[in-house]
Structures are given as C-alpha cells and as structure tokens.
C-alpha cells in the first residue's frame, strides 16, 4: 500500500489534514504519488466530517484517535479509510491500551461498544466508545452505556449477581461475603422503585441523576 510505505505517522497526518484547504485548484505538475496521498486526505477529511457530526470529537481528535487505533496493530489497520474497510481489532489488544489497562471494568466496556458481541471493535466502535466516555457526552447517553457496562449477564437488569460482581471488581474482593450481601441488599432497597428486586434501566437512570459526580468520574481522557 502506497501510504504505509510512505511512513507517515498519525501526528504528521493530523497536522497536514488540519491545514489542508480545498484542493480543487491544485496544479497538475504534482506527481501521482502525492496526488494519491492528497486525494486520500481529502476523502479522509470527508469521512472525518461525517464522524465529526456523529461524535463529540473534532476532526483533529478523530485523526489522533485513528493514530492510536493504528499503532495498536500497524499491520492490520490501514491508513486509508475511504472505502470503509472492515477491520476489527480483538478485545485483547484494546484492553491493553494504557487508558484501559488498569480499569477493572475494561472487558465490559469493550463488550458494550462492540457490535459483534465478542468484544472486537471496529474503528467506528472505537471512536464511539471514547466519544461516549468523553467530557462532552450528555448524562443520559452515559447512563445508557454505564447500565450496559454494569449489567454483567446482559439480561437488561442489574440483578444481585451483577451487583456482587461489580463490588468485587471495585474493592478487589476486600469485603467479606456478609458485607457484600448487606451492601447489595441495601442498594436494591434504595434504588429499586417498582419492586421487582432488580434494577431496571429506569431505576438506574433515576439513581444516576442524583449522583453529581457521575459525569466527572465516568470519563476517560484520551
């Protein structure tokens, strides 16, 4: 591939595209290699426009994210995204990112944003994940995905088993079994409104709306 041979890294690409204006009036004396590069940049910036409208990131940040996605698997991820290549990175690679490596919920986070249910993320899912976890995403959107993350058995409810797993991951199993049971019972008592013994999405969202810190803690800086 022409681009991978040209050995441009994400930062250079980002800076070039940032300054690139409308190129229709370019002189024809440019070599075909450069033209190909530039045409990829133009179409890439169109893709970025599309992505920019659907996520909370600016074009520069999307390019930076692409750089990060690419450096996880440079042989698999292409630099050219014009034809929307169907490339997915497996979960093992994503959860080794420095931002996610030490997070106890890293598998659940990646699974919640994965479209194929096995935890592999395409670039769109990757951008979506960091967009929802960014500063600018609204509370409702974050609540939806937080509910998905804490619902370990994916049954659309946060039941007692899910709560126990959450607690164990939070405290690294430092609490005794009796304390865990007590805490789970108290949580369900506090948050369950319709009395089915589990937390549905409405209960979860109601409780999250009372948590002022949720927006600032459910946030990953990339």
């Amino acid at each position: 591939m022409l681009l991978s041979e040209s050995k441009l890294d994400g930062k250079q690409m980002a800076s070039l595209t940032f300054f690139l204006p409308d190129l229709s009036f370019l002189p024809k004396i440019l070599k075909s290699n450069d033209l190909h590069l530039l045409s990829v940049f133009i179409s890439y910036s169109n893709t970025c426009c599309l992505l920019q409208d659907c996520t909370f990131f600016t074009r520069k940040e999307i390019l930076r994210l692409h750089g990060r996605y690419h450096e996880m698997a440079p042989n698999v991820v292409p630099m050219d995204y014009t034809k929307d290549p169907d490339v997915k990175l497996p979960m093992q690679l994503i959860i080794n990112m420095p931002e996610l490596k030490e997070n106890p919920f890293k598998e659940r986070i990646v699974e919640s944003f994965s479209e194929d249910g096995e935890g592999s993320l395409s670039f769109n899912d990757f951008v979506d994940m960091f967009s929802v976890l960014s500063e600018m995403a609204p509370r409702e959107l974050k609540a939806i995905y937080a509910f998905k993350i804490y619902d370990f058995n994916t049954d659309n409810f946060i039941c007692k088993a899910d709560l126990e797993k959450t607690l164990n991951k939070l405290t690294r199993e430092e609490l005794t079994a009796e304390e865990i049971t007590l805490v789970c019972e108290k949580v369900i008592e506090e948050a369950d409104m319709d009395g089915d013994g589990k937390l549905g999405f409405a209960d979860f969202e109601n409780m999250i709306s009372k948590a002022p810190d949720f927006l600032s803690t459910f946030h990953i800086r990339i």
Partner: protein
Amino acid sequence: MSQLPAFTLRVPENTESDGQEPSPDNEGALHSSFCELIEEQSSLVAGAIEMELQERSREPSALLPPLDPMATAGLEPKQGEQHPGYATTLRILANMPSHTIGRSRGAIISQYYNRTARLRRRSSRPSLQQLSHTARPSLRQYDLESDPTNATLADKQSLLAKELLSLPPAQRSQVLLEVPLSLEEKRSLRRQLSQRRSTPGLRVHSSEPTSPCAWCQDCIVLGCRTLWYRFLALIHAAQPWHYALKQISGRFGSSVLSYFLFLKTLLLFNIISFLLLLVFVVALQAAYPPAVASPRPFTGLELLTGAGSFTHSLLYYGYYSNTTLNDPSASSPSGSTSPSRATQLPYNMPLAYMFTIGANFFATCILLMYSMYHSFLKSYRVGSSTGVLAIKIFSAWDFKVVQRHSVKLQSENICTQLKELLAEQRLRSCPLSLPQRLRHITVLLLAWLLALGTVLGCVVAVYYFSELMHMVQQKQGAAAGSVWLQEGVLLALPFVVSLLNTLMPHFYNLLAAWEKQDSPEAEVYVAICRNLLLKMVVLGLLCYQWLSRRLVCSAKECWETCVGQDLYRFVVMDFIFTLLDTGFGELLWRLILEKKLKSKRRPEFDIAQNVLELIYGQTLTWLGVLFAPLLPAVQVVKLLLLFYIKKTSLMQNCQSPSKPWQASHMSTVFITLLFFPSFLGAAIFVSYTIWWEKPSETCGPFRGLQTIYQTPKVWVELLEESNPNIAWFGWIPQYLVENTVFLFFLTGMVLAVIYFNIQVLRGQRQIICLLEEQIANEGEDKKFLIQRIHCIYDDKVHCA
C-alpha cells in the same frame, strides 16, 4: 418491596426464538400474545378474581399465604423450586419496551422517532381514546403498535430521518449526537439526512412555515453555533496543560484535579482583568508618560517591596495623570503647528480609569455568577438525599485513573468508604448513649471556642504588630537608617500575616484530629469554615487600617500608591509563603517519613487548604486593582509559577488522597466561596473607596476631586456645557443610580424571583414523591398481573 415470587408461566415455544434481542418485527407479536391470553381467560376468572379481592379486602395479611407455594423468601428462587417457565417469563419481562431502551435497535429508533415527533408537535401526550388500550399507560405515547407501517428497521430509520429533517438544524444535530445507536448507524442516518436534504421535494413534510424569517433565524443560529464550536476547539487545542492535567488525574483522581482546574479558572479571570486594564488604561498612560522627578535606580529589593524605583511607575495609581491625554486644545500653548501624526483622539484618563475598574469588576461578577450557575447545575439535584450507597457504588470509580498504584489505592479508598457507610448506618440504628453524646458535644464546643479564640488572638496580634511597626517607622523617619532597613521594615507586617495564615491551618488540623467529627465531609467543612474565618477577619482588619490610615500610610501624601504598595507586598509574601509551605509541608515531610520514620506513607495534598490560599491571593488582587492596576499581571505570573511548582511537588512528594472527596460538590462550594466573602468583600471595599474616600491632592488621576465618584458627574457637566441638547444624559445617574426608590424596586423584584423559585422547587419535590409512589404501584400491578396469568395458565393446563 424486594420479594419476588417465582413465575410459572408456560409460554408457547415460538416466542422463545427471540433470544436475547428480539428483532423489531416481533415486538408486535409479543404484545398480542399477552393480549389474547388475558381476553381469553378474563371471563373465566373474573368470578374468581372478585372472590379473591373480597378476601383480600377483609384480610390484608392474607396476600402472602395464597401465593406461598409460588413465593420464595429471597430475591431469586432456589434451584429446586425453579419452574421451567421461569426463564422464559423473565426473558419476556426483559423484552418489555420500557426495558429494551438501549438494547433493541428498533425500540431505540421508535423511541427517538416519537421524541422528535413530540418536539415537532409540542404536545405532551396524545389523548387516550386514539390509541389501543393494550399498551401500558406510560407507553401509549410510544405509538409502537398503533402505526401499522412501522414493520421493518429500514422503515423506522427512514421515518426517523424524515422527522429529523423537520426539526430546526440546531436541534437536529443535538438529537443526532444523543441517540444511543452505534456510530455506523448514526453515520448511515446522517447520510440519509444529507441525501434527503439535497432532494427538495421532501421538505413539504415540515409543518413549520418556511418563512424567510425562520430560515434566516435558523441560519444565524447554526452559524453562531458552528463558530462557537470552532472557538471552543481552538481553546482546547491551545491548551498547554492538557497532558499535565491528564497526568495528574491519572495518578491522583478528580479530587486533586479540581484544585488545578480552580487555578486555571482564576488564571482566566486575571488574564481578562489584565487585558482590560492594559488596553484601556496602562498602554495609553505608557504612551504619554507624565513628567516624573528623577527616577531612582533599580535594586533587586523592589521585586519584594514594590517600593523604590517602582513607586513612580505604571504599577501604581500615583503615576496616572488626571488630565485628558493628547488633548489638542491643551497640547501646544506655545502656538506650534498641529502634530505630525494623523488624527489623534483626546483620551479622558480619569474617566477611563474609573470605568475600566468598574467594567473589570462587572465582567468578573458576570463570569463568577456564570461559573457558579454551571457548577451548581451539575452538582445539585432536587430530592437527592437518599440512595447514598447505591450512588457510591455506581459513581465512585474514577475512570480517569490509569496508574496501577493509584488504581490500587482507589480500590482501597472505595472499600474503606463502603465500610464506613455500613458502620454509619449501623450506628444510626443504635445511637450513642447520653453521656457519650454529652462528651462529644462538650468536645465540639471546646474546639470551636479554641478556634474562635485563636482567630481573635491573631487579629489582636496583627493590630498590635502594626502599631509597633508604625512606631518603628516614625523613629526611623527621624533617624537616617540604611535603605535596606527602611524597606525591610515595610515587609514585616505582610510577613507576620502570611506566617499566621500558614501556621494556623496546621493547628486547626490538630484540633480536628482531637475533635473527631462524625463524618469526613463534616471535617472538611469545619476546616474550611475556620480557615476562611481567620483569613477574612484579618483581611477585614487590614482593610479598615488602609481606609482609616491611622497606622498605615499615615504620613504619605500619595496614600493610594502607599496602599497599592502594601497590597503588592502582601501578594508577594503570600507567594513566598506558599512556596515555603509546599517545601516544608510536602518535600521535607516526605523526607522525614522516608528516612527517619521509614514508613511508606507519603504526605497528602491538602486540597481545601490550598484552594483557600488561592482564594486569599485572589482577594488581595481584587482589593488592590484600584490602587495598582498592574496587580492582575503580577497575579498571572504568580499563578503560572504556582501551577508548575505545585504539580512538580505533587508528583514527587504526595500520594493519592485517602479520604472521600465529592469533587463536583466541593468545586461548587469553592466557586461560591470565591464569590461570596472574597469577591463581594473586595467589591464593597472598592465601592466604599470610590464613593466616600477623598483622593489625595498631589497624585493620581482623581486629584482635586472630592470623591472618585464625582468624575462622571464632572464629565456629564462638561458635556452639558458643550452641548445643551443632551442635558437628559445627566438625568440617568440622578434618577436611576442615586434614587433609592428604584433600587428598592430592583431589590423587591430579585426577592420575588427568589421566592418564586423556592416555591417551584418545593412543588417539584412533592411531584417526585408522588411519581415514586406511582412507580411502586405500577410494580405491584405488574406482579399482580403476572400472578394472575400464571393462575390462568395453570388452570388451562389442568383443565386440558
């Protein structure tokens, strides 16, 4: 409320093929299966229900016994009693429309279609007669089964796209951003939107009149929004501290990060003040310097004392002229020709000075109120007193923390906090005995008395020290000492005040350790209260001394410059003592802990204390801006240096905080503290000086006037003299600003608005209680229905 009976519903097998996520095509099928069942058996069991209802109304406790064979004690049924239909029932319940939000794509798209339709129609609920009665009352507005053309996912998507097109562009982009669909689907939706927008025929669907007015408005709103986002992106891109903050939050979490964000906010305020003063006051005076007596040579001491060669410089009030700069009528008394440069406008320096200071305070006030509003909006929720444990579990984990050691510490923190919460709840169920409570109250009272006593003691100490310094200065004035000694004496009072401000908080920490408050939050509040009280009372005494000028600056002719110099010294001394505190408190303490005591613990970053120091420094700047217009620049330099020094010290010497800290709540408290005693106090001081104090005769832009406030009056009189037509202009200050009736009226309006908001809040709390009751009742209804259905099925099976 948390008891769950086992379900024994046996459902025909074809509905089980839905699996976890039903395809949107089958949603209708699920509903109709319930519907048929109930209709089929309702006549059969109507009689049975009536009998049971009569039984229940007689014996409310009989609710449980008839259900005992199906009920279990715990939240989940035990293995032996699990009915084969249990999983099916749960799966069906999980696929109810209210539970599939966020899961089934069809449900999300339908929900957002209805939401945007509602936005378009601006009606809250369609009337009940229009829709079929099988839908749950709360779901009738979802239009799920009453829209027969909504069969496939593609249809739903195109419907949503059509609805989105009819929205104004600003709302459209907002809805697109907030839909919880995957990014690929959002992109396809957006592609559909742009395709449809290019075909003009489809715009007929919009119900809003496409008048040129509305179209113009849309364009303007969209254009402004785009510009605003570009501006924000520029600011984000221009941030030099993005990675530094990421490092800090990665290692120490949101609590310590809030200090650095507060520092950034203060930096922004000071930069704005500095730019305002630079453009309107300082730069122009620098271009037209007044004639000054021989300037003294620069020695290094000026940076500390602000006196010496700095006295007659742009830094202080005394340098600024009281005339109109570049006035063509006054410039050439000797009759020379017009100046060689192009037209130059005359510039009324006193007026500019006063109005710039006023604009400065006004802009800061607006910015502060906006920050407070924003902060309050994020952290305050109506009726949010319950659910502490649940909130803690779901929002305590800070996803920003990435370092292994910090993550481990965070786990330990959360564990400790949970244990504390459990212990607290246990304690609440068995409160302290009377002698213990009495002892606790006595200890609290004693601690508070001690704290107030120390505040009083510090104030008296500062007062007597300033008297002492006054006597020393008088003696020195008589005798001719060295310059260094003379200047050094000036530093003594700031030194003592800063020393007290640095040492007393440590004393209050010891007091708090002896006191042992109930909760860590109460500890933080009490510490903040005491520190703030000390700082504000000492500042109050100093302000009184500056205004009365009995002990400080009594002999000087140009008292404003003297006060400005004093404030400059206070700012510099505060900076030096912050550095010393960082050095001794953090660096030295860590070395002692490591080398002498050989413990692995490191000192912690005391967030409250550091933020209060920032507030104190900012108060000094605001107090001094009238007397030393370049003081915001000094504060900017100080804050920049402070950021890097604090960050370095934090990274090298400190560990993550071990106590819980509600970051957003405390940020609101700090911004409020910045506004209420700090900014308002400074504004009152400056207003008093402008309104009542007589400016000095020999220096400054207001020399010769009775008060600074007379400047605009003089200017208005000048205007009236030159042009009698605008005599009405003088009407404004006389009838609006100085008239008490108007101010009374304004205050009355503000109080009315506050009262109205309080009543609205009270009403909202009541509504929340009612809604919670309603949800609990619906849950009971659901349980009842399911039990009925089980009974029906069992009867059906037994009969068949």
